[in-house]
């Protein structure tokens, strides 16, 4: 029985094909049962997301099982298997384990480190469990994949830094302020992105929220939507002196926040820092405020630059994650190896021990005068012999198993020593 994974992903298949082959949950239940019913695939999990469709399975003939699975997948969407097959990749045994770990840990994702994939893998596994298509091998594989994904998440910073502009703004705020709880936020003007940034800040504890707009009614609307307070437009200078974070996104052609205005506001702040997130184009905050002590101003390009730096940081962290995954794969395979060969070694040893006991008893029956020393010597001699005999085959089994070719050797040992059929 061999472990395999076959499928297609954003790496090799165009979205036009991925969207056609993706399967919704109801259909997936049916499919899982059909696949298992064919007896080609005793264990199977199907992962279907917008970026990948993959079949994880355990089968005697992985190639055959793969074709059977994708024929089913194609049939239900009326696709031609011949068009899909050339795009499929297949990983066997150790490579399949590595692939499963990398996918769950979000190392194979389009956006490395994105958090959704782990949930999707968990859902796929839960669905297969509900359909009773998960056996011991896939169960071990997936539980291990989940724990590897968790380790990658906690031990590397692969998912730690923001990769969207609005989250980058929050991240910058957290580098200025020791925690965002109780920080006052002022929204100047309205816009999708500024609203989003404000929401992220609120999720991190920022409070209260003030909203100002040239049009009073719009300020009130937005204030209501964000559970904030509307502030009249001409009170902007006063508001600057009291809030901590200002998000600007007006459509004004001239800056609405000037250097002089900010310098005045800073007087009353006793050194408390002031953070401007300027999402507007043209910009709402004069870039000259950068020269003021304690004032931090990030415009849309600055935030994009932060996002790019974060992406580079993610790539670096991904390298560390890959090393971690590699170690876990090795551990997993070593454990699998033991699971595979230990029953054979145990029965082989038992068989030889049985022969040894019988022969020692017969020999001693013929030596009624043997002293305890003689008896002990015979016992030791025979034990040493079977240990010597066992040494070579056991070593060979270990080696072959580590090389992933234990099957024929195990059969051979069973045949040679008359151990009965392998289960």
């Amino acid at each position: 029985m061999g472990l395999f994974v076959a499928g297609l992903s954003h790496k090799n298949a165009p979205v036009a094909l991925r969207e056609q082959i993706a399967v919704e949950e109801d259909k997936l239940r049916e499919l899982l049962r059909d696949l298992q019913g064919d007896a080609v695939l005793p264990e199977v999990v199907v992962l279907s997301t917008c970026n990948r469709v993959e079949v994880y399975g355990v089968a005697d003939a992985p190639g055959e099982a793969r074709t059977a699975a994708f024929r089913q997948l194609c049939r239900h969407r009326g696709l031609d298997l011949a068009a899909v097959e050339p795009l499929l990749y297949t990983h066997l045994d150790g490579d399949a384990v590595r692939h499963a770990f990398r996918v769950a840990a979000s190392l194979d994702s389009m956006m490395i480190g994105e958090p959704q994939i782990l949930g999707q893998v968990k859902d796929a596994f839960a669905l297969a469990q509900a359909c009773e298509t998960v056996g011991p091998q896939l169960h071990t594989l997936f539980s291990q994949a989940f724990s590897v994904a968790k380790r990658v998440r906690s031990e590397t910073e692969i998912a730690r830094h923001a990769v969207s502009v609005s989250f980058a703004a929050v991240e910058m705020a957290k580098k200025i302020f020791a925690g965002l709880a109780g920080r006052a936020v002022l929204l100047v003007g309205a816009g999708k992105m500024s609203e989003l940034a404000a929401k992220h800040l609120v999720e991190h504890g920022a409070f209260p929220i003030y909203v100002t707009n040239r049009t009073w009614a719009r300020a009130q609307d937005l204030a209501r939507a964000l559970s904030g307070t509307a502030v009249p437009w001409d009170e902007l200078p006063t508001a600057l002196a009291s809030v901590d974070i200002v998000i600007t996104s007006t459509g004004a052609s001239q800056p609405v926040v000037t250097c002089a205005g900010v310098a005045r506001a800073m007087h009353g702040r006793r050194g408390r820092p002031l953070f401007f997130i300027d999402i507007a184009v043209p910009r709402d905050v004069e870039p000259g405020v950068d020269g003021l002590d304690g004032v931090y101003r990030y415009d849309i390009d600055d935030l994009k630059q932060v996002v790019e730096a974060n992406l580079r940081e993610r790539a670096r962290e991904a390298q560390r994650a890959e090393t971690l995954v590699e170690r876990e794969v090795a551990k997993y395979l070593a454990r699998q190896t033991d699971v595979e060969i230990i029953p054979t070694i145990v029965s082989l040893r038992a068989r030889l021990e049985e022969i040894r006991r019988g022969e020692v008893q017969r020999a001693l029956a013929r030596l009624p005068d043997a002293t305890p020393e003689t008896r002990a010597a015979i016992d030791a001699l025979s034990t040493a012999m079977i240990n010597k005999i066992l040494h070579a085959p056991v070593t060979k089994l270990r080696e072959s198993s580590r090389a992933g070719a234990s099957r024929s050797w195990l059969e051979l040992v069973h045949e040679l020593f008359g151990l009965g059929r392998r289960s």
Binding site: K174, K175, I176, F177, R270, G271, D293, D302, A309, E313
Partner: protein
């Protein structure tokens, strides 16, 4: 200081510093753990060295400047370990340990001090030195906080996140660190200096005879007093406070240097 005993401690601190700096660049759990381990080992060796020294002297090892620096370093390392454990700010060691190493290297270089003049023995002197050293330890953290603040501030202003950006705590935390260490170190330094002056008056008859160390420590005290006043009265924060912390620390280091290398009443 007994060289065979202080050397392992210094080696431990140097290893810890190297690993701490490596951790700043290449974030690897193992590197950090080894750094902590090296610090603990160095500190343990240092503790033994101090105990041996105390037994040798039959008194707290606080009577010569070299001994005092040794105790100061010992306090700094202990406080670093405690602060790091409590606050979880792992990068702090990368900024504190270099100072520790520079001071500790001085310990290995210094020969065994000659026995002290009898005038320099007694509880008053020990308290004078102990307080000054606790104050000094606080200002090492003040200095480290200021350096971290300026690095982080530059990164934030430049808008180009670099390696430090990801490692350093928020500006406000660093500003708070420099303020608290200043508020803690200043009273110790003040009382330490006052005791020294009182002692000088009883021992030599005048509190104000010129001594290079005493003079420079007064300069450092004035700088710190100014910073504290600026913070309290004018709401100085951030960059300005950080610059003053660095200037103050430079004055303190010069103070120690004067004590070690120039003739005077504090000479080792």
């Amino acid at each position: 200081m007994h060289p065979s005993l202080i050397n392992p401690a210094v080696v431990g601190y140097i290893c810890a510093m190297g690993l701490a700096l490596a951790y700043l660049v290449q974030r690897h759990e193992l590197v950090h753990r080894l750094s902590v381990l090296a610090t603990l080992a160095g500190w343990a060796a240092h503790t033994v060295a101090l105990i041996v020294r105390a037994v040798e002297l039959g008194a707290p090892p606080l009577a010569s400047l070299t001994d005092a620096i040794s105790v100061g370093v010992w306090v700094i390392v202990l406080v670093e370990l405690l602060v790091e454990q409590r606050s979880g700010v792992r990068v702090l060691r990368a900024f504190v340990l270099p100072v520790v190493v520079v001071l500790a290297l001085k310990l290995t270089a210094a020969g065994r001090p000659a026995s002290l003049a009898p005038v320099l023995a007694g509880a008053w002197i020990w308290i004078h030195i102990a307080l000054a050293m606790v104050g000094f330890a606080a200002f090492v953290f003040n200095f480290a906080g200021a350096i971290m603040y300026l690095l982080q501030e530059r990164q934030l202003k430049s808008k180009r996140p670099g390696a430090f950006w990801y490692r350093l705590p928020p500006l406000e935390t660093l500003d708070r660190l420099t303020f608290r260490t200043l508020a803690l170190g200043f009273p110790f330094l003040t009382v330490g200096l006052l005791l020294g002056a009182i002692w000088a008056r009883t021992a030599w008859g005048s509190a104000l005879t010129f001594d290079p160390l005493a003079f420079l420590s007064l300069v450092a005290w004035l700088i710190y007093a100014g910073t504290l006043a600026g913070r309290a009265a004018a709401g100085w924060h951030g960059r300005r406070a950080a610059y003053f912390a660095i200037v103050g620390f430079v004055a303190l280091v010069l103070t120690l240097g004067a004590g070690l290398f120039l003739p005077g009443r504090h000479g080792s």
